[in-house]
Symmetry: C2
Subunit: 250 residues, 2 copies
Amino acid sequence: MLSKATIKFINTLNKKKFRQKYNIFAAEGDKICTEILKSNKIKIHSIYALEDWLAKNKPLLKPFLTKTTVITERELKSISFLSTPNKVMILLEKQAPNLDNKLINENLSLILNNIQDPGNLGTIWRIADWFDIKHVFCSPNCVDLYNNKVIQSSMGAFLRVPAQEVEIAELLETHSDVPVYGATLGGKNIFKTNLTKNGFIIIGNESRGIEANLLPQIDHQIAIPQNGNAESLNASVATGIICAAFRNLN
Amino acid sequence: MLSKATIKFINTLNKKKFRQKYNIFAAEGDKICTEILKSNKIKIHSIYALEDWLAKNKPLLKPFLTKTTVITERELKSISFLSTPNKVMILLEKQAPNLDNKLINENLSLILNNIQDPGNLGTIWRIADWFDIKHVFCSPNCVDLYNNKVIQSSMGAFLRVPAQEVEIAELLETHSDVPVYGATLGGKNIFKTNLTKNGFIIIGNESRGIEANLLPQIDHQIAIPQNGNAESLNASVATGIICAAFRNLN
């Protein structure tokens, strides 16, 4: 049974302001929530689930019984951020990601600049997870990493790939030995570029590109050759192609 | 000024049944609609736009004055399929795409199998446009090509890349000399596969893959190597990586 106060509290989590205030964010649905219970990597604040889901996942839920509330479909609908609520919502505690300077220096990191669409940002996080990109950094003008749609479309990547909001210029200055690649329309064909095993890969906004003040910090401007007529590729599709090239062509 | 009957008629176009019945679909927003007026490739049924948009695009609109209706923001809201309506809606007549058998035989075509998400299908259409893939074929269990979200996320690709619903098995039988590639989890690393300049590329459903009955018709099962832990890539991201490989690595 859910109190009105709880419903109101959860509803506020659709705003960044309140996710920051309470240091909490939400994940929903059978698949992601089962993964959360198994992962043991993130602190669970509370679990709200339908009776049949709780019954099905009893062994996994054992350590969290005091944090679990049985709810009805109607109650789930009142707290869910999905258009089609799916059995369970887990609230999670935000925690500072583990940044590993050795990995930043020796492996690949993605830097996202002004990515506004939550579906794109989540999909990019998932791409990082697929290609074992070690960190995702976001400029402050990106959509919030803990936005519900970002979390849902990351498909569990938030459990595995550390991601953080940073001032990009400062990050690059702190790691000045790491090569910086940036995706630009006028860049060199990525399939004909020597790609290093380590580096920062900057992805900019789909229509506006990488912000002008960052361009001087880019060592290698790269681009995906266009054969047809579309004006641009979707930001997450472009990121997928670039990450695939880095992981397979060097 | 919009009549109640017109509003009702346009509202029905969110259903495939009515798009088929009237043979009409909708495109919205400043960018796509300006492109439609410039393209001269598709028959316009009617244009509904705010006064300032009409004033700005006067020269382009000249041939379509009898089909144009000035509407208010409130009226636009009553007909729009977007959560944030954007100045203009154009209704277009569906027309049979130009299938070019020579291009099918000598160039690349995408075949989509059970792609349900309209955003994914539209994004894949846009990818085809970027990489100059000559045709997009969809199995009958894909989301409708004329779904409003498909059209919006194709970003104008529907003006340039012919796309059609087909029975895949029949299509492959009719073009039995064309090599058939299929993206499967157990496929061969695409970055180590000899890719031909022509071929069908089959993309399956993100969670269920390509339907089993089609597997025997695939000549080359291909896959994108996974370095990390994500269970899968988004279907449009995978398509982007595969098309980029075909266009750049052979």
